[in-house]
Symmetry: D2
C-alpha cells in the first residue's frame, strides 16, 4: 500500500463528548488533516495548496473549497483508540475530486467520510482546472499506480 | 412558521479559515446547536435528551448518536453575515429521525446539512424506540401540524 | 449596565467533554465570540475589524492578534445552563487592550477569561495605534461612561 | 532529553483563521493533546486517566479538571510549519500539577502555554490526592531525573 494513503489517528479526550464517543464533526476535522498529511507525505508543499501568510508566499490562483461532504458512523469510537485510515482519492472531472477515508479498528470499519472538492479561481470564484500537483497525487494514488503511456 | 424551526446564526471570526470562508465542519457544529436550540424553544429540557453531570440528573436510558450526516455548500459563507436557518425534521421509522437545516442569506440557500440520528439503549447500545419527547417534537414540526386521524 | 457588555451563553452538548463539564478551551471560543457580539451591538461592523473575503471589503491595515490569554475555572459548567456574561474591557496603552469576561450562574462566578490584544500593522507586523472604533468602544465601555474633558 | 517530553506538531489548514495565523484557542487543544501523547509515550493508558465508554473500563475515581490555563504568543504561527514542543511538568502540591509547553520553530519560541490541573474525587468533586501514575510521570519528568533520597 502506498505510504501516503495509510495513516493513523489517536482518539484524544477532546474529541469525545459527554456520551463517551467521538463528537461527530471531529471526524471531518480528522479527515481534512489526513488529506493534508497525505499530500505532505506525497511531497506537495502546503504552501502550493493552501493560502498562507508569508512574505515569501505567492497569492494562490486556485482554491479548493469543499462543496459536499458526508460521514457514516458504524461503531462507537472512544478515547484511547488508535484508528487506521485508508485514503481513497477519486478524480470526478477536470474541476473536482473527492477523498474517501475509511476509519478502521483492526478489521472493523468504524466510520468513513467523503469530502468533495472543487477547484475555483481565487479571484473570480468560477470553477477552473485542478492544480497539476493535485492531478499528480490523484493519478499516483490509483490502485495499481498511474496508468503508463504505451 | 413555527418559531422553533426558524433560527438565525451569526458567522464569527473563528468560524472562518485562511481562505476567508467558513471552515466546512463548523457547519455541523452550527447544525447540532440549532437542533438543540429548536428542542429548547419547543420546550424539551436538554437534561431529558443529553447526558449531563448533575446530582439531580437521572442516567439517561436512550442515546441519540448521529449515524450519518452530510452537507452541501452552494455559496461562500463569510464573516459578519447573519444567516437564517430553516429546520425540517423528518421521522424515518420508530428508531430514527433526521434533521435537515437550510442556511439562507436573503432568498439564497447558501448551504444545507442533514444529520441522521438513531435511538439506542445507552447500556446495551442496541437500537430502541425514540423518546416520547422527540416523537412529539417531530410530529409537531410537520408542515401544517400533525396529521389528524379520521 | 450597558447592553453591549452583558450577554448570555447557552452551554451546548458539543461544548462538554466525557467528564461532563465544559472542555476547557471552548471557554476561549465563547470569549472571542462574546467580544465580537459586543462590538456588533455597540455598532462596529465586523468588516472594520476582521479580515473578510468580499469584493467590497477593503484590505484592513490593522490586525488585532491575541498575544496573551488566560482563564480560571471556579465551578463545573455543564450542559443546558444559561450563563450570564459580563464584559470588562480595559485599554492597556495606545497599542493594546484586554477584555475580561466573567461567566456567572446566578450570583456565582463559574469562570472568567482575559484576552489581551495588540494592534499591529497588517503588512509590516509592527505594533501600531489601535483603530479608532476600538478606542471608542473601550472609552464608552468604562463604568460610568467616558470621562469628559474639562 | 526524555522522549515523552519532546514532541512535534504540524500546523494544519483548519488551525488557522482568516488573519492567516493560528486561531488562538487551538493552541490549547494542541497542548492538551500533547499532554495526552506524553502520558501515552511514558506508558500510562488513557483509560487510567480519562473517563471512557467501555464495558471493560472501571469508573474512574479521580478527575483532573483544568482550573487555570494561559498562553502567550510571541511570533505568528502559520500553516505548514512543524513546531517542536518541549513539555515541562511541575508538581504544585499533593493535589495539583501544571504542564508548561514551549512551542519552538528552530531556536525561536513562538508560543507557550500552561495548563494547571487539580485532582478531584469524581463523585464528591472535592479535591483529592493525585493518581499514582501521574505522580510517577511528574517525578520522572524532572530534569536530571527524580531526586534520590539520601
Amino acid at each position: 500500500m502506498k505510504e501516503w494513503l495509510t495513516l493513523k489517528r489517536n482518539v484524544r479526550f477532546g474529541d469525545v463528548d459527554a456520551a463517551g464517543v467521538i463528537h461527530f464533526h471531529n471526524l471531518f476535522r480528522w479527515s481534512h488533516e489526513a488529506w493534508e498529511e497525505s499530500l505532505e507525505i506525497f511531497g506537495i508543499s502546503s504552501h502550493d495548496i493552501f493560502p498562507a501568510l508569508s512574505q515569501n508566499s505567492e497569492i494562490l490562483n486556485v482554491a479548493l473549497p469543499i462543496i459536499n461532504c458526508r460521514a457514516n458512523f458504524f461503531m462507537p469510537i472512544t478515547i484511547g483508540e488508535v484508528l487506521q485510515l485508508t485514503i481513497e482519492p477519486e478524480k470526478i472531472d477536470s474541476y473536482g475530486f473527492q477523498v474517501l477515508i475509511k476509519y478502521c479498528r483492526g478489521k472493523d470499519i468504524v466510520a468513513h467520510s467523503i469530502l468533495r472538492h472543487m477547484a475555483i479561481d481565487s479571484t473570480t470564484r468560477k470553477r477552473c482546472l485542478l492544480p497539476e500537483s493535485i492531478e499528480l497525487w490523484l493519478e499516483s494514488s490509483l490502485v495499481g499506480g498511474p496508468i503508463k503511456p504505451l
